[in-house]
């Protein structure tokens, strides 16, 4: 990591820590948009970190830019930073304009089908997109649509769709978007070579893996701190061996999630390494469930209240592990690659990631 990246990460970390208070998290969970905080992200250049410099962005290396997503996960940043990074990256790499403001991408779920037709000297796009993150606040959605077997990137602006609001467990917007609009040629372009729905899904999975690693770091920190503060039987509960052993397991899961998210960050790109990202998503997803469970156990009843902050993070973990492909889906990809490698090829496959 270069010095500038370290500085950027430090700055972002401070900004997130200063601006994402428990009351902000609570307001966002109720559906509030935090315009001032969003503006600060933009002013620091965080939102265009993955957009190349010649397209007006900060042009960071993906692994460095994605470090921001892990930090955002640690703080529970209730804003579409990850989605904006990915949408900006995809639009720029397809040569489409990267609009200002929050952006998002349509997950390439099998049920999210867009039909693109040629009309005169433009296009018509129809279809329904389910569970689009933050769609209601987005200045544009980047979506992939199939045309004659070729994936095309489409830039959709709010005048081209209507939406039904829905949320995930943490209250983050996951809207259903009905698309029926004309698109000008300038808003449709071929996806980067080799980049199709599976690659888009993998890119989203990589972002969620990073965010989960960050949120797991957070629940570990909260749990250890709480175990040092809370006293029962005359001493901090962290002095009890049973609690210590649980926290050790939580720390191990956090370490595994951290390593997995590093794998995801390195595998991100126009030709993402699907195996590596699949590994990262399933391992962080499994760690997420384990970490959330232990964190709640350590916190006792207070952690089960709405007033306590723990749930902002555990709910995100429970949702993020399902978004952009749950463990079962990505495990099947890994398992089939293992089967393809055969008994003697299994080790070389593992050692290749």
């Amino acid at each position: 990591m270069s010095d500038t990246t370290t500085i950027l990460h430090d700055t972002a970390n401070r900004l997130f820590a200063d601006t994402v208070s428990a009351s902000e998290l609570a307001r966002a969970a109720e559906g509030a948009w935090l315009p001032a905080q969003w503006q600060q992200l933009e002013e620091l250049g965080l939102t265009t970190a993955l957009v190349p410099e010649d397209a007006g962005g900060a042009g960071l290396e993906p692994a460095d830019a994605l470090g921001l997503v892990r930090l955002a996960g640690y703080h529970g940043l209730p804003l579409p930073l990850a989605e904006t990074l990915l949408a900006g990256w995809l639009l720029a790499h397809a040569g489409l304009p990267v609009l200002e403001g929050p952006l998002t991408i349509a997950p390439a779920r099998t049920d999210n089908e867009l039909r693109l037709e040629r009309t005169g000297n433009g296009w018509r796009l129809r279809g329904e997109l389910d569970r689009v993150p933050w769609a209601r606040h987005a200045a544009a959605i980047a979506a992939l649509a199939d045309h004659d077997g070729q994936p095309l990137v489409c830039l959709l602006t709010p005048d081209g769709y209507t939406l039904d609001q829905a949320v995930n467990l943490a209250g983050e917007p996951r809207d259903t978007v009905q698309v029926n609009c004309a698109l000008q040629n300038a808003h449709v372009a071929p996806a980067p070579e080799g980049f199709g729905p599976q690659q888009l899904q993998a890119a989203g999975a990589a972002l969620r893996a990073l965010a989960m690693a960050g949120a797991i770091d957070r629940v570990l920190t909260m749990s250890v701190n709480y175990a040092n503060e809370r006293k029962q039987f005359g001493r901090p509960i962290g002095k009890f061996q049973a609690v210590q052993q649980n926290l050790a397991v939580l720390a191990s899961q956090a370490a595994a999630a951290g390593a997995a998210s590093d794998i995801a960050a390195e595998a991100f790109g126009a030709a993402p390494d699907l195996l590596a990202i699949a590994v990262a998503k399933v391992r962080t997803g499994e760690a997420a469930g384990s970490a959330a469970g232990i964190a709640h156990q350590v916190h006792g009843a207070i952690g089960f209240t709405e007033e306590h902050s723990l749930h902002f993070f555990t709910k995100r973990l429970w949702s993020w592990r399902d978004e952009f492909g749950r463990e079962a889906e990505w495990n099947r990809l890994v398992g089939q690659q293992a089967a393809d490698a055969g008994a003697d090829g299994l080790w070389p496959l593992i050692a290749s990631v």
Partner: protein, 382 residues
């Protein structure tokens, strides 16, 4: 943020080039080794193989030229280790000497000890065992009672060591014992001695383990004379030294690849078109191994930089042995087969061995509970 740091593992072109060489060597040398023997993992014993490996320069790889003549990087060594384990190579004879006894001598040994022993380890000729555990002192190593009493020119040793892997076929033991103080002063007054196992007064009794192997032993010391020159490091500093040794003992891929032969056999059995359920379970374990490998390489990088990864090593060992123990359970969920020791069906035979050996994974080298205690200390809870 309280997470335990695992820095990005360094990459090394030299190590990757070496990997191909190691694979080619293993393919040829182990061509006839059946899965049921590969399943022994690093308990498989074959002195000829150890010598052949030494001729390739793949023992004592990182030691300075004057003792081992290789001076390769910790990363190159790591690649050799993981390739050996993944292939189920019989590395047991030299494993402990290469992993911890040699490095301990390199760090604390006298010049004489190093000159005499290290080149023989590097040649694959000299094997070691670990004399830590005793009948009444397992996890509580500081409770060791074996005592070395000063006498003219050295010590007289009395006591019993237990579970000593390869004690019956090793040349030396690194003995952890009391040399002074009393058992009240638990850490002070302990030392490490380099004991020639052919010394008079040593009785070695192999113990059969529940999987049928005779790898570990009870070793009784009755008035065994050990010369002064056998003291490793400083008299009375045994505790600090042994803690350093445990970091070597816990840090490697031997703590997450012990069941790999079984996973490979499972993969062979499932074939190229596994069911969705098989894909999911196989995929999950594969993902775990990929991530463990990354954590483990991070530890290798820390060793390479001269850092002390004792905490990280404990964490990887705890996670790794858990996965090692899960693999037989996954096989049972996917394949309608009964484990049968010695079966001609290799999957059944490998499953049988791995199932029966698996309890040891989270005992040997420090139990799961002890490791988690170390992690809890790393979190500042103890």
């Amino acid at each position: 943020m309280l997470s335990i740091p695992f820095p990005k593992p360094p990459t090394s072109d030299a190590a990757e080039a070496l990997r191909h060489e190691v694979r080619a060597f293993l393919r040829e040398t182990l061509a006839d080794r059946p899965p049921a023997e590969r399943a022994l993992s690093w308990t498989g014993y074959d002195a000829d193989f150890s010598r052949a490996l030494a001729r390739k320069g793949w023992i004592a790889m990182t030691w300075p030229k004057e003792y081992g003549e290789h001076e390769r990087s910790a990363l190159e060594r790591y690649v050799v280790l993981e390739e050996l384990l993944a292939a189920g190579a019989p590395v047991s004879a030299h494993w402990i000497a290469d992993r911890q006894s040699g490095p301990l001598l390199l760090r604390y040994g006298t010049e004489e000890q190093r000159r005499e022993i290290l080149p023989r380890i590097a040649a694959g000729e000299c094997y070691f065992c670990i004399g830590m555990s005793e009948p009444d002192s397992g996890s509580d190593l500081a409770g060791a009672r074996t005592r070395a009493t000063p006498v003219e020119g050295g010590f007289r040793v009395n006591g019993t060591k237990l579970w000593t892997t390869n004690g019956h076929r090793a040349h030396y033991m690194i003995l952890f014992c009391r040399t002074g103080g009393n058992t009240e002063d638990r850490h002070g007054g302990t030392s490490q001695l380099l004991v020639d196992l052919s010394s008079p007064g040593i009785t070695i009794r192999p113990i059969r383990d529940m999987s049928g192997l005779e790898d570990f032993n009870e070793i009784v010391f009755q008035d065994v004379f050990v010369p002064e020159s056998a003291v490793i490091g400083e008299l009375g500093k045994g505790w600090d030294q042994v803690m350093g040794e445990l970091a070597y003992e816990r840090s490697g891929p031997d703590r997450w690849l012990s069941s790999f032969a079984l996973l490979a056999e499972l993969n062979r059995h499932l074939g190229s078109r596994p069911s969705e359920r098989a894909q999911e379970l196989l995929g999950r374990i594969t993902a775990h191994l990929v991530v463990l490998r990354r954590l483990s390489r991070s530890v290798a990088g820390m060793l390479e930089r001269g850092e002390n990864p004792a905490l990280q090593a404990s964490l990887v060992k705890d996670l790794g042995t858990g996965v090692e123990q899960e693999i037989p359970e996954i096989v049972r969920q996917l394949v309608d087969i009964e484990a049968a020791p010695g079966s001609g069906d290799q999957l059944s035979a490998v499953l049988a061995h791995t199932l029966m050996y698996a309890p040891a994974f989270s005992l040997r080298g420090g139990t799961r509970e002890i490791l988690r205690g170390i992690i809890a200390r790393g979190l500042g809870l103890r």
